[in-house]
């Protein structure tokens, strides 16, 4: 099955094993739909051109809207 229609079950199984998880076939099938759902939104994040700015990945609690 082409992954353009969503992740293939075998590919997902590899990702799940890489994460150290063990899922039953039923759980894996359920995860397939969830994975595809989230992947669509995540793909949109990756398509954003955020440039080369130094964007911190941490979240400082003290932020100042005036700065």
């Amino acid at each position: 099955m082409a992954e353009t229609n969503g992740i293939a079950l075998d590919t997902l199984r590899i990702l799940v094993e890489q994460a150290g998880l063990r899922l039953s076939d039923t759980e894996l099938t359920q995860m397939q739909a969830m994975y595809d759902f989230y992947r669509e939104d995540v793909q949109a994040l990756h398509e954003l051109d955020l440039g080369m700015d130094d964007l911190a990945v941490t979240f400082p609690p003290q932020w100042d809207p005036e700065s």
Binding site: L15, V16, A19, G20, L21, R22, L23, E27, Q30, M31, A33, M34, Y35, F37, Y38, D41, V42, A44, L45, H46, L48, L50, L55, A56, V57, T58, F59, P61, Q62, W63, D64, P65, E66
Partner: protein
Amino acid sequence: MTQMPSELHYLTIRQAAALFRRRQLSPVELTRALLERIERLDGTLQAYITVLPEQAMAAARTAEAEMLHGNFRGPLHGIPIALKDLYDTRGVRTTASSRVMAERVPCEDATVTTRLATAGTVLLGKLAMHEFALGGPDPTCGFPLARNPWNLEHIPGGSSSGSGTGVAAGLCLGTLGSCTGGSIRGPASYCSIVGIKATYGRVSRYGVVPLSWTLDHCGPMTWTVEDSAYMLQAIAGHDPKDPTSSKAPVPDYSVSLREDMRGMTIGVPRHFFFADDPRIDRDTLATVDKALDTLQSLGARIQEVTIPSLQYAGGAQPVIMLSEAFAYHERALKRTPELFGDMVRARFRMGGLFTSADYVQAQRVRLVLKNECAAVLRQVDVIASPTMSTPAPPFAGFDAMTTARRISFTGPYNLTGMPAISVPCGFTPAGLPVGLQLAGKPFDEPTVFRAAYAYQQAAGWTEKRPPL
């Protein structure tokens, strides 16, 4: 002492405190009335996981004795409250509504538990919640599922489900919820009460079971804005035990409780919150539009604003939340997955499948959103919107992805860390509550309180109680 009102359980904190001071009501009478109501109604409403009648009555007697000696600690003295069951309570089981922590009894209080006790509150018990503060009402989690007092067939929202139900049903006068993507404002909106998530760093999270370290916030849920201000006053402030806790001084929030909005500008990002999207309920938007008219009539200037990256918040927030949740729960997910409910287990596992590139990109988008909000907040005092994109959904048909599929109107402010409140603003034709969300500049809770209080006083929705 003489008992004055006929419905003690529906007193606000301010009303109860005034009666205590006039010696027209005692903490013992009020606590007893609430315990009796819990006994009578909670079998149906299922707001509580643990009720503490003996401990509560002992605390109420102590408060009463102090008051009889003229020692009033403040507006929370003698007030019966409850806590979401992820706030650690020394010697009292704290489960996060999960079999993973079913037998967990903390040996220390959360910082906010201690602060509320110091303020003189009476702890009635620990409240139901969605498992580990995620997702929805999962019948497989092994804990009670709280019901919405306005319509028992509908959810009260979550994850602070029991907190919404508990206050709205008159089973406590105030509570603390916790919020990673809207878990305070959501149930507040669905249950027609007030809930505020203060600025990230304003309230200590020490001793609170985490869901996502960089998104988690704590805050009060009450009948009124002033009651939330009293509770936030008690719990806000630096805590050396929480590395993200701010050292910024805590202002007197009661000063903000003014029925005046002249000079205030309210920004409305209609492009996102009022978009032509089938997932957004039209009745909710019509109700919130009326609330905006009310704000305008009070002297506020309404200004349409644009925050382009709001459209990406729904993609970024789950990546950060679930990745961090996976990190916290990884060992348990691998060793004892059967102890998790089906909904949470599936979504936590999803957190292990995002890549490091996904997480970093989500954090980068988060910073862009934060900068855009900061730019808008140089032009306006608060940003207004519906709290939720729909009214409370029914239990029937709720699955692991129901929450994920909807548009989150609350999650963006967990990403930015801005303070945000939900205040009741009406009901749909089906009789389900709608909330108005007001978000402000970081550490500017006073302005958020001021706008919410002025609206509350003009609109009067907080007078309405569910038909129980």
